[in-house]
Symmetry: C2
Subunit: 342 residues, 2 copies
């Protein structure tokens, strides 16, 4: 077969505010690949099926000189994130043609990877859509699952507050908290998102754009567990209405990713209320929880216990738009790029 | 014996910025007490020897309608804090005349207390000055000792940053960290204070008023343990130069007690560096550590292992000034009021 086009989404320039499709990232179709003959050199060739668009990607769109927990994207190279693909050819004994694999993918329709390290073959006995494996059955679900187990220290009667509760992390946390029998207060950024969160069983759901977080917590709190995806105003309100000894699970602070977050004035509550605040990255927690996660969670998704909604765009050329939408909170459900059908 | 004057320091009005002697608190000598005949009703009569002036008192100088971890002072009544006194008469079987007692005292030369709850008889086998029992051998020392044991999670090679390091809490933390073999960076608010901190063995000592905290941490960090007494700018710098997995021990944030603290811009580092932040109050931690503290610490002070400096004012009438000085950082060493000699 003749070489085919290999569309890729390249990192082009560091954004100052929101990432802009066509500027921050550009879609490139100049590269071709010979799927039958491209040399593997002991590696394996993957056809990308789905790619995940996650909030944390914004942090990698920075100048490479700025250090952070995750390396900066390299200008002129494809951005990278979790994906699921099918193996077309393999010279690596750990994986064979036809296997479905999960791992950090370049944003490319096809790629050859030398080593299987960090990748996983997905069995998918439950026959879930592959996109689920970058959502509730992937990194976002793992984030919720492992940090909740590690840091929530659930006690009977606890009240939980979850922000960005319609996303794949927040919605998973709502379900975990309800499975533990807790009262859940949850916020999201549109009435439509709130409807979904209500369907998860959250007890109090509000649209933070039309209702002040502090007002809701004053009435429904104090809170014993805070799952923070947002930072800024919601963190400040959570500090104000935290119960003594509350646990704060610091997963992200998206309100500050694309500009200055609202200042947080209640930091002294950390002392006065003896708060336990844990920041975490799923990469660190996952090794401890990965096997039980894959053993348990896909089946619980298949059974309907863990619901999810997806915001799917078809075609890698739309990934730049999806990245913007996730930063601006304009997606509804887990943002996924369907790069190809099988 | 005829009744004697019983000088008291009364809470008079809520300050807006720094507490002002004669306004926030007033010294009052209108009350008298008959030391021989005042009825005890099953309680005991104490002659106050020393009273402690601590940063946290500012938080109690608020309107009683504002809830916090510690009740507000009552207007027109003596303010209260830790003190040491000698028992003159007792009808309580737990304590007898001549005993030295430690507990929360009203700011009064004499007082009758109905119950011994929360009090402690000090043995003082080491013959330390009584003032030490409100400093390194009292609440401040207990704060340092118990929180360090509970939350520092010391690992070999850790770098520690301590703010307000010349105070009774900070200086104790410096010694604990050096006893654990760690590198200690410490800040204080005057060159004189810095000299004392150097004498404790801290490796890097700087005056935060003349040297930027961020510049020092950029050079001497990253830090693995942060002992925060100050909040604001120093907390922001600590977030910026924290190592992955650093522990933040949040003891106080005095930079915000008398006005708005400097905004903290690096909160996202909590997530990115997987920080473990614990706020604490000594009242909660002490039950777990009190007996070992009193068994160990007075002897280690007597041996010279735990050094201390005191800023002693003689006479309860100067307590209002001392309260201001502690808030403004103008004291040098643990602020103590010597109310009476024995």
């Amino acid at each position: 077969m003749a070489p085919v086009k290999n569309g890729r989404l390249l990192f082009n320039e560091v954004p100052t505010g929101y990432p802009e499709p066509g500027k921050t990232t550009v879609y490139d179709e100049t590269e071709t690949i010979d799927l039958d003959n491209a040399p593997l050199n002991g590696g394996f060739l993957v056809k990308t099926l789905v790619l995940s668009i996650d909030p944390y990607l914004r942090g990698k769109m920075r100048d490479a000189s700025v250090k952070s927990y995750s390396p900066a994207f390299e200008k002129g190279q494809p951005i990278e994130n979790f994906g699921v693909g099918v193996v077309l050819r393999s010279e690596n004994p750990k994986v064979k043609a036809g296997d479905h694999v999960y791992g950090i993918f370049p944003f490319a329709q096809y790629f050859i990877r030398p080593s299987f390290d960090g990748f996983r073959v997905l069995e998918n006995k439950e026959g879930l859509p592959w996109s689920v494996y970058v959502g509730v059955a992937g990194m976002p679900g793992q984030t919720a699952y492992s940090a909740w187990k590690e840091y929530a220290k659930v006690q009977k009667g606890d009240v939980v507050f979850v922000t960005a509760a319609s996303g794949p992390v927040g919605s998973f946390v709502v379900r975990l908290a309800k499975a533990d029998g807790l009262k859940v207060i949850a916020s999201a950024g549109s009435d439509e998102k709130c409807e979904f969160v209500k369907s998860l069983g959250a007890d109090v759901v509000f649209n933070y754009k039309t209702t002040k977080t502090a007002d809701v917590l004053a009435k429904e709190g104090p809170i014993n567990i805070f799952w923070d995806n947002v930072g800024g105003e919601s963190l400040d309100a959570a500090l104000q209405y935290a119960a003594r000894g509350a646990r704060f699970l610091e997963c992200g602070m998206i309100s500050g990713y694309n500009g200055q977050a609202q200042p947080v004035n209640n930091l002294m509550m950390i002392v006065a209320k003896e708060l336990q605040i844990n920041g975490f990255l799923v990469f660190s927690l996952l090794p401890k929880y990965a096997e039980e996660f894959y053993r348990e969670v896909p089946a619980r998704i298949a059974s309907g216990e863990f619901k999810f909604i997806e915001d799917v765009k078809k075609g890698l050329e739309f990934a730049g738009h999806a990245i913007y939408e996730v930063q601006a909170g304009k997606n509804h459900g887990k943002s996924v790029i369907q790069v190809a059908e099988e």
